[in-house]
């Protein structure tokens, strides 16, 4: 069951609901068909914590992985929310992360997008942001839902800007909205109304950044390698902002219409209230879709909570998980015991929770499918990766990773299939994603040799 608000709900929802109409109408217009030259237009990574109901310690089979052949496969109950998108997804069996460092949850989170043990490398999303995403006003968009809860340590985050170096996601959709669409961000240069080239604030920011860049350069020479690398990141940030201000960076082409954010239930006091987690996650998904729809960015990562999650999913109202009298946390449920035992409360909760994450992913796909793009929808031109840091939450194995790649990638991949391997490195999938995004990367992390066979068109 996909819990998607109807149009009428959306119009009614939210304090600013009445203002949403023009944005909704815009969906019905045909998006521009220009410049769709093949290849994936965007990558959206959707992460959730603590694995799935995989093969149990006692050897019972996975309740997550589809069974059957490449095209004639069956989706298990847990993946049923993806049934409407079956033809736009690739499912996998036998993808392994190989060895990992530092325990299973943190080790898995470090390796998930970096494909290196201990996270000693740039993650694929940050890599693509710096290559094929570098000409966008925002190279990278990292949105979270309670991903920084209780001062989460760095190893809770899956996006690595350099070896061992994570960055924190933005957990407040209102702040992210403001950054992406607010007045602080002058529109990129281009013909027509909205050109802001004469704004004195833009000129000032440009000279401020220019000053900053010169000072950074002078400082860099005095540093050792580690600090030089940090300053290089800082310098990259300056370049991104300069390009956004129209310093010749060609950030044009974005037409965002009237962006809209449904902030129902979200304010400073509910941002870290598990009862409002679904509202926050929904808003972040909406934002990622809008930001990539109008090409503000090509790479977005949505991180829902973080590994060994304390998220109390039994507080999600209007879901089968709801139980106000008993606090069931994500990580707690994942330790359901050695068997798929329906007599155990944790196991039943874990099943429901994992399906709920799939429903959220399906909501993301559904949003993408509602936006026309080129000769199809946004989903046809996107790559959307569903991932978590372990397979089964109890055994913590990093084999048979529960990954789903959705979207047509602009024709770069052939969806609608189940691809089966035997201990094939998940790095090869990340490499294939890079290729589909137009980055002919030779190797990535501990990839075993070339992009995942049979995936690319």
């Amino acid at each position: 069951m996909i819990t998607r608000p109807s149009r009428r709900d959306l119009l009614r929802l939210g304090a600013a609901g009445a203002l949403a109409l023009p944005w909704l109408l815009r969906r019905d217009r045909r998006a521009r068909a220009d410049a769709l030259t093949g290849g994936a237009r965007r990558l959206i990574v959707f992460y959730f914590p603590d694995g799935v109901v995989g093969a149990s310690q006692n050897g019972e089979p996975s309740e997550w992985h589809p069974t059957g052949g490449e095209t004639g496969f069956t989706l298990p109950w847990m993946l049923e929310p993806l049934a409407p998108f079956r033809d736009q997804c690739v499912f996998f069996r036998g993808l392994s992360m190989g060895s990992t460092d530092a325990g299973s949850h943190p080790g898995g989170a470090k390796k998930l997008l970096t494909a290196t043990d201990g996270g000693y490398g740039r993650s694929i999303d940050q890599h693509l942001a710096a290559t094929v995403g570098a000409d966008r006003p925002f190279r990278h968009l990292y949105l979270g839902a309670m991903a920084n809860h209780n001062g989460a340590s760095g190893d809770k985050h899956i996006s690595y800007v350099g070896p061992g170096q994570t960055v924190p996601p933005e957990d407040d959709p209102r702040a992210a909205f403001q950054r992406l669409f607010g007045a602080g961000t002058p529109p990129p240069p281009g013909p027509g109304p909205g050109t802001d080239g004469d704004d004195p604030r833009v000129a000032r920011r440009r000279s401020v950044l220019d000053t900053s860049r010169q000072e950074l350069l002078a400082l860099r020479g005095r540093l050792d390698t580690r600090d030089q690398q940090r300053l290089d990141l800082h310098a990259e940030a300056i370049r991104e902002l300069e390009a956004r201000l129209g310093g010749g960076g060609g950030g044009g082409g974005a037409s965002c219409g009237e962006p809209y954010l449904d902030t129902t239930g979200i304010d400073g006091s509910t941002l870290y209230d598990p009862g409002h987690f679904p509202d926050v996650l929904r808003a972040q998904i909406d934002l990622a879709v809008q930001a990539t729809a109008c090409e503000l960015t090509r790479v977005a990562v949505i991180q829902a909570s973080s590994h060994t999650s304390e998220l109390i999913m039994s507080r999600f109202a209007d879901t089968p998980m709801y139980d106000p009298g008993f606090d069931m946390r994500s990580h707690q449920a994942s330790h359901y015991g050695p068997a798929h035992d329906e007599a155990r409360r944790e196991f039943l909760a874990y099943r429901l929770q994992r399906r709920w994450w799939v429903e959220q992913f399906a909501y993301l796909l559904d949003q993408l499918r509602q936006w026309p793009e080129g000769d199809g929808t946004m989903l046809d031109h996107s790559l959307v990766l569903l991932c978590t840091e372990v397979c089964d939450g109890n055994t913590h194995l990093h084999d048979d990773m529960p990954l789903v790649l959705a979207g047509g990638g602009g024709g770069a991949i052939r969806p609608g299939r189940l691809l089966s391997f035997s201990y094939r490195r998940h790095a090869d999938l990340l490499l294939a994603i890079a290729h589909a995004m137009g980055d002919p990367l030779g190797s990535f992390g501990d990839a075993s040799g070339g992009p995942l066979p049979g995936l690319l068109a």
């Binding site: 600013a16 310690q57 209780n150 001062g151 170096q165 702040a175 669409f181 950044l209 000072e215 913590h396």
Partner: protein, 732 residues
């Protein structure tokens, strides 16, 4: 290549001897194997291979091949796959070459690494406040429109609104209007005043004015004229598209730490490496475009405000002699902002920004804006200048390091003067200033913040608790409990005995009315004050909810987390993570106490290997419920809160278990232990230096630890020693 600084350590810190060994020292700082050892092996084999739960490794007679083979196939015992191949090679080489008694001996103190430290949020906030804060003369005003956007005009002077309030002003400019009201996300875009629109009232000058308390965070709004015409607020500075081709005004309100006007409100979250308790890890702070967006916006707002008041803040003939005024402004501000004098190039650039701008105001705004996003402002440098065969911090760098290390903010005039006089590049001069600074209230504040992080207590503000069972555990109570730990630590260090023992064992705490009510302590009204526990139940920080509630689940206690807290935070025993198939938290069972449900840990031999060192420490806290209140029983079932301590000085050390019956007894054992003292020095070292110590800094830590023990655990003296220690001034 590593160097030792021979003389000062021995003389000043009385460092332990050791006869030196060869010139060819093992380079611990550069050793990958040393890093892996600290992470994977030290907890059992001892930090320096001295043994414990695992055998002694120092001066091992084993061959490299034997060591590597053992690591590959058997170590660490709970997961031998953790270190194989290159990792096993590095580790074996380290054990053979690094864990040698001659290499480990000290004949001096190694310098610390040179590093850049990005300002933390609290440092940024305090810095901006101290550089430009409340000494600003209030702007005279006749009406609110004379004041900055968020300010109102009160008795002829501009006054900022309360942190969560905002003054709206609309000038009808002669139009005859009946009503003006505010509609936005906070009132459902009320189209009429009857529907909840915030009505402005007309003042004597004919302006429509109103001050309202609004939700914190970002709100979008419009002004509505005569309940029909929706307009963007002409005084607003931020807007976003309204969906109808126009713009909504946007207002961001925050009541952060210092209440109101928090410049860091839009900054990205701060994270720290796993296991690092403090917010100031030097390597964790990177500037991405998300950070830079936030820095740029914060600096812009600040620069605008300062520039608008430039004529009063920097009185000068701005119209007649902008160049001269620019010089005066740079003389007054640049060193404070950059934490050193600007170079000739920098000075020329800032001057040009002021002089070449369209107006003086715009020029000042641009120059300040640029200074406030310059790397010299955003990072504090501990880079030094070449000195001998290493580096030595400059006087300005020492001034900043002392100031941020002891006050959490930018240096005062006396520190800059001391830097100019060359007083801060000698241990004597540094010591004099540290002692002076410790007498300043800002040191109390910083010690309080350190203590709250030391007990992992900041999460008290956000940790989940079941709303039905703990309905009273609201934001106000949580804030009061965080303040308890801060105030208590400051009291111990500056008003009390000043020792680690007192932090751990004090038979009192410092609470205000709200925190006292939470604990059920009678007779406290108003602000924080010392209150005796007097019931033999609690002891020092071990009785604080900042520890007890954050190391507990939402609906039940966690003896495991509380036990691990003692191990990790207080003893620096970093136990390995549980094996992958460890069970989770047992179900809440109405027929069993928490302790009974967790008993299987120690019954199962696989679990017992570690849990024998954890659970006995945690069970002693069972009389404290998930929010840190005393409970006589657990839903009617009797509580067994006796515990036992094993391996206090290191896993595998000591003879068996020592039982205890109460938390004060446990606290006394900890206070008597060498491990707790050494760990406190390590934690203080991490907080002050901004990195995790390695064996390269072992000699500095040995000296500091010896001095700390000899002083009876005197925290003020430790703070002095941390900055007088040669590894502070000298860098590699």
């Amino acid at each position: 290549m590593s160097r030792a600084v021979p003389l000062l350590a021995v003389v000043i810190l009385g460092a332990g001897g050791g006869c030196g060994g060869g010139r060819d020292r093992y380079d611990y700082a550069a050793s990958e194997g040393a890093t892996r050892y600290a992470e994977l092996c030290a907890v059992c084999h001892g930090e320096e291979g001295q043994g414990g739960l695992g055998p002694v490794l120092v001066d091992s007679p084993r061959t490299l091949e034997h060591l590597r083979d053992t690591i590959e196939t058997r170590m660490p015992p709970n997961d031998p796959s953790r270190c194989t191949g290159a990792c096993a090679d590095e580790l074996a080489r380290f054990i053979r070459d690094g864990l040698r008694s001659d290499a480990l001996a000290c004949d001096g103190v190694e310098p610390s690494p040179r590093q850049l430290r990005l300002l933390t949020r609290r440092e940024y906030r305090a810095t901006v406040h101290d550089l430009f804060g409340d000494d600003a003369p209030a702007l005279a005003c006749a009406r609110a429109t004379d004041c900055a956007y968020r300010d109102g005009c009160v008795a002829g002077a501009c006054e900022p609104s309360a942190c969560n309030a905002h003054t709206f002003v609309f000038d009808p400019q002669g139009r005859a209007l009946s009503t003006v009201h505010v509609a936005g996300t906070f009132n459902g875009w009320a189209g009429t005043i009857a529907a909840g629109g915030l009505a402005l009232t007309r003042d004597a000058d004919g302006l429509f004015v109103g001050t309202f308390t609004l939700p914190e965070g970002s709100s979008a709004y419009k002004l509505v004229l005569d309940e029909g015409e929706w307009v963007t607020d002409p005084r607003g500075t931020a807007t976003q598209p309204d969906g109808f081709g126009g713009q909504n005004s946007v207002l961001a309100l925050s009541c952060g730490d210092d209440g109101g006007d928090d410049p860091t409100v839009g900054f990205p979250a701060e994270t720290r490496p796993a296991g690092f308790l403090f917010d100031d890890h030097a390597g964790a702070g990177v500037v991405t475009s998300v950070h830079l967006d936030a820095y740029l916006a914060a600096a812009e707002a600040l620069a605008d405000r300062l520039a608008a008041a430039a004529a009063t803040r920097w009185p000068c003939d701005w119209a007649g002699d902008r160049g001269g005024c620019a010089d005066a402004l740079l003389d007054a501000t640049a060193r404070g902002v950059l934490r050193r004098r600007p170079t000739a190039d920098e000075r020329a650039r800032y001057r040009a920004l002021i002089v070449d701008a369209a107006s003086a105001t715009e020029g000042v705004a641009t120059a300040l804006h640029a200074m406030l996003v310059s790397p010299a402002f955003l990072y504090r440098a501990e880079l030094g200048e070449p000195h001998g065969d290493g580096y030595r911090l400059t006087g300005d760098e020492v001034a900043a390091a002392l100031s941020y290390g002891l006050w959490g903010t930018t240096p005062d005039a006396a520190l800059w003067a001391a830097a100019d006089a060359g007083e801060l590049t000698t241990p004597d001069g540094i010591e004099r200033h540290v002692r002076r600074m410790l007498d300043d209230p800002r040191a109390r504040d910083l010690v309080g913040r350190f203590a709250l992080q030391w007990v992992s207590g900041e999460a008290i503000e956000t940790v989940d608790k079941q709303p039905d069972r703990f309905a009273g555990f609201d934001a106000r109570v949580r804030a009061a409990l965080a303040a308890e730990t801060r105030n208590f630590a400051a009291h111990v260090v500056f008003d009390g005995g000043g020792t680690l023992r007192e932090l751990l064992t004090a038979d009192y705490t410092v609470v205000d009315e709200v925190a006292a009510a939470h604990y059920g302590i009678a007779g406290v009204t108003g602000g924080p004050r010392p209150v005796p526990y007097g019931d033999g139940r609690r002891a020092g920080v071990l009785g604080h909810a900042t520890m007890l509630a954050t190391q507990a689940h939402s609906d039940q206690t966690s003896p495991i987390r509380r036990g691990l807290f003692v191990r990790r935070n207080l003893l620096c025993h970093d136990l390995p993570p549980p094996p992958p198939t460890a069970g989770g938290v047992p179900d809440v069972d109405p027929d069993a106490t928490t302790r009974e449900r967790f008993a299987q840990h120690t019954a199962d031999p696989v679990c017992a290997g570690c849990h024998t060192y954890i659970d006995g420490l945690g069970f002693g806290f069972e009389h404290f419920d998930p929010v840190g209140r005393w409970r006589d029983d657990e839903d009617g079932r009797p509580i067994d809160a006796t515990g036992e301590v094993r391996g206090l000085e290191g896993l595998g050390t000591g003879a068996g278990a020592t039982p205890y019956a109460t938390v004060p007894e446990l606290a006394a054992m900890l206070a008597d232990s060498d491990a707790a003292a050494a760990c406190f020095v390590r934690q203080s070292f991490r907080f002050t230096r901004g990195y995790v110590e390695t064996l390269a800094e072992r000699c500095a830590r040995r000296s500091l630890t010896e001095r700390f023990r000899a002083s009876g655990g005197d925290i003020r003296e430790l703070l002095v020693d941390l900055f007088v220690s040669p590894d502070f001034l000298e860098r590699r």
